[in-house]
Point group: C2
Chain length 437, copies 2
């Protein structure tokens, strides 16, 4: 069967998370977790679902960008796409006129992610497998053929990439079984959003410890005294054995980052996340160097906009934890390139998740990373946030603070149609209700 | 008078330049020079005009982004904006929800440029001066107050920036008079677009030499044999004394760039422009290092998306010519930061221009750079392309291959309303005509 794509729709879906300060940090004080939500329709009745994550305002711009890309997708068959996925990736990212709007960054790249996520979902459904399993079963050569190596060959050649995948083939069956049995380790960001009062933080932390969580992330960066108080509180609650990470969401300049984080060193954070501009490779390198003697690593990636940037972060030793994002990079294709580069540079990947749908998507990528690339769990864990999973047809399953591998075919980002309808912006019932208040 | 902003409109204006291969290069084979064109209206009848440049498809996405920003502009007064221009810049670039779409890159930043260009135009008109003269006459402290130093203080502090401006105050009167009399040196890209046949190239080159041009840029990167033939042809025509630059528009990976340009070294190009990804700071640094012994510099910037990237290009010695763009960076505000950083690192600024409106806009910035920042013309020149100037109310004036300082109040980017109407996409007469063919 050919699975000819005969239509593509995109909708602006927003959740009013800012009402309860979920997701608040030092730079994003009132996010409404949202998505540009894509459905592609085929002539044989099978559909593909994809999304890119946004924070509310401006989602309509991403929707507009998806509509601009739709013409490059509709009319093609799934089989034609996946038989030259690198070519299709480049068709979307290197359109002679549209690449000026990026290239491969910002709105146009978020739109590319949404569209390609839907294509990957469709492929996995057509194969009757969850996406991670589709990837695990693909021939390494076909994996390579999905990746656009343009601009990264100075760090990773196709041959090197193939070699990495071939080496991991040997024991992959064993790791797949391990994952199916035990799941992939996770950490939680749900306890300590910046604007949560201390009492709420304590309560959430208590509950999380009871549920078996051992790794916790705290938002910092707005006020040093507050940060010291909150870090002290959470470190006291979780004890010295558990893991603490801190996240500044790009709040500081380079010198300020070094001095601020040094003031929090007594709380033994494993990493400082996004200490400064996501574009500042050399700044992150300087911060990494300064904090290394304190035993604090630098993590970044949720706003690292493409493989060329990740390449340089790795080349410059500017991060010690690679945080891939399933919706900012150009879908699975570009994330594969980053996973392989991270392996070559021997830097662990700890994906960014949360928002809406990010956990559902990225779990597939990190499962593939463990089974077929890194073959290691050392210093590795995937972010988890306990919000909005109820809107998905195949929500994540967490057991004992671990992601259990999804079993349903696809990329796990199909939303309940009723949720989509209620949260469409501005016409859904949820938003009409605010308008009428 | 307060100049309260009471409205903002944005239109999608496109010129069918691809029909004659104007603007064609190795990555952008068929650009239709276009703009997101903004008008802001005040309660006292004075309007401000601004634009951002695009290549055709996708301009509607930029229009959508401008509309999303409009709410942050309408209702404010010009005086309130310019009394805290840094704050206003940050309001547009750091909106808690919208910054996720960038931050400060891609579509959302192009839209920011269009809006802020219109605000600067309004300010210059309100002062009755061309923009360059407004800048030249501003107190250095007020110039500094327009710049967002976030993320660049490790390269340039406010005090250092002020110091640079103060030092240049002394002889600025003399340089202003020099510019008014002699103009700012330019080079031409009009002769050698990639898809022009050799005969056309020869004819254009002959004409340009007659008109006094001495500096020429050739597009390269698609086919090495073609490049050798074209470079040989143009070098023969312009002779050994004139200046040749080559431009690959991001076509190569790092190793390929070094080998390809080495093959063209015999034609003595002053620079290779955009040899690889605009995001690849470390790649440009490697290319710079490899080509230095051949006497070839690296130029880049037209797709360098913000001051954080320029900062690193300078820190890493990754370019020898800084090519600012008036419509990709966050308008005058962010370009001021780049001019000052370039001066500190002693790298000459040679602006990107061409497209539609880019020459009109950027001439103001480079005049300010000479009069108030660099005080030098060594290795400096501004790009010029002879297209589409007829659509502006105050088109550039070129005498003897030099930009003559504009005299009309404003930022020179007001289009003839008749041109806007005819070229509106898709409803303008020019585009209806193609539809009917």
């Amino acid at each position: 069967m050919l699975h000819k794509i005969i239509g593509l729709t995109v909708r602006d879906v927003r959740f009013p998370t800012s009402l309860e300060q979920h997701g608040s940090d030092s730079m994003h004080t009132d996010p409404d977790y949202s998505a540009g939500y894509v459905v592609i329709y085929t002539d044989c009745g099978l559909n593909g679902f994809g999304l890119t994550f946004t924070l509310g305002k401006g989602t309509e711009i991403v929707v507009c960008a998806v509509e601009a890309l739709a013409g490059l997708v509709v009319g093609k068959s799934l089989e034609a796409i996946v038989s030259d996925f690198r070519g299709f990736y480049r068709l979307l990212t290197s359109d002679s006129q549209m690449r000026w709007l990026g290239p491969e960054k910002g709105v146009i790249h978020l739109a590319t992610a949404a569209v390609l996520n839907a294509v990957w979902d469709l492929w996995a459904r057509a194969e009757g497998k969850p996406l991670w399993k589709l990837l695990v079963d693909l021939d390494p050569k076909q994996i390579i053929s999905c990746i656009d190596f343009r601009y990264i060959t100075d760090a990773l050649s196709e041959d090197e990439a193939l070699d990495i995948l071939m080496k991991a083939q040997e024991d992959k069956q064993q790791r797949e079984e391990e994952m199916l049995k035990e799941g992939y380790p996770a950490y939680t960001t749900s306890c300590a959003w910046l604007n949560y009062p201390d009492q709420q933080l304590e309560q959430l932390c208590t509950d999380a410890l009871k549920s078996g969580w051992t790794k916790f992330k705290v938002k910092v960066g707005a006020d040093l005294k507050d940060d010291i108080r909150r870090c002290r509180l959470i470190r006291k609650m979780i004890g010295p054995e558990n893991t603490l990470m801190i996240d500044a969401n790009q709040r500081w300049d380079v010198a300020e980052a070094i001095s601020w984080v040094s003031s929090l060193a007594e709380f033994k954070p494993l990493w400082i996340e996004e200490p400064t501009s996501p574009d500042d490779i050399l700044g992150h390198a300087a911060i990494s160097k300064a904090l290394a003697p304190l035993g604090i690593g630098v993590a970044t990636g949720e706003q690292c906009h493409n493989r060329v940037m990740f390449k340089q972060f790795l080349q410059a030793s500017a991060l010690q934890f690679v945080q891939i994002d399933s919706c900012r990079l150009g879908s699975v294709n570009e994330n594969l390139a980053v996973l392989l580069m991270a392996h070559k540079f021997q830097v662990p990947v700890c994906p960014h998740a949360g928002g809406v749908g990010l956990c559902e998507l990225v779990q597939h990528l990190i499962l593939f990373d463990y089974i077929c690339v890194s073959a290691s769990l050392t210093n590795r864990m995937c972010e988890y946030v306990d919000h909005l999973h109820e809107h998905f047809t195949s929500p994540v399953v967490i057991h004992d603070a671990r992601y259990m591998p999804p079993k349903d075919p696809g990329y796990s980002c199909e939303m309940l149609e009723s949720s989509v309808q209620r949260h469409r912006y501005p016409e859904g019932d949820v938003w009409k209700q605010f308008k009428n208040q």
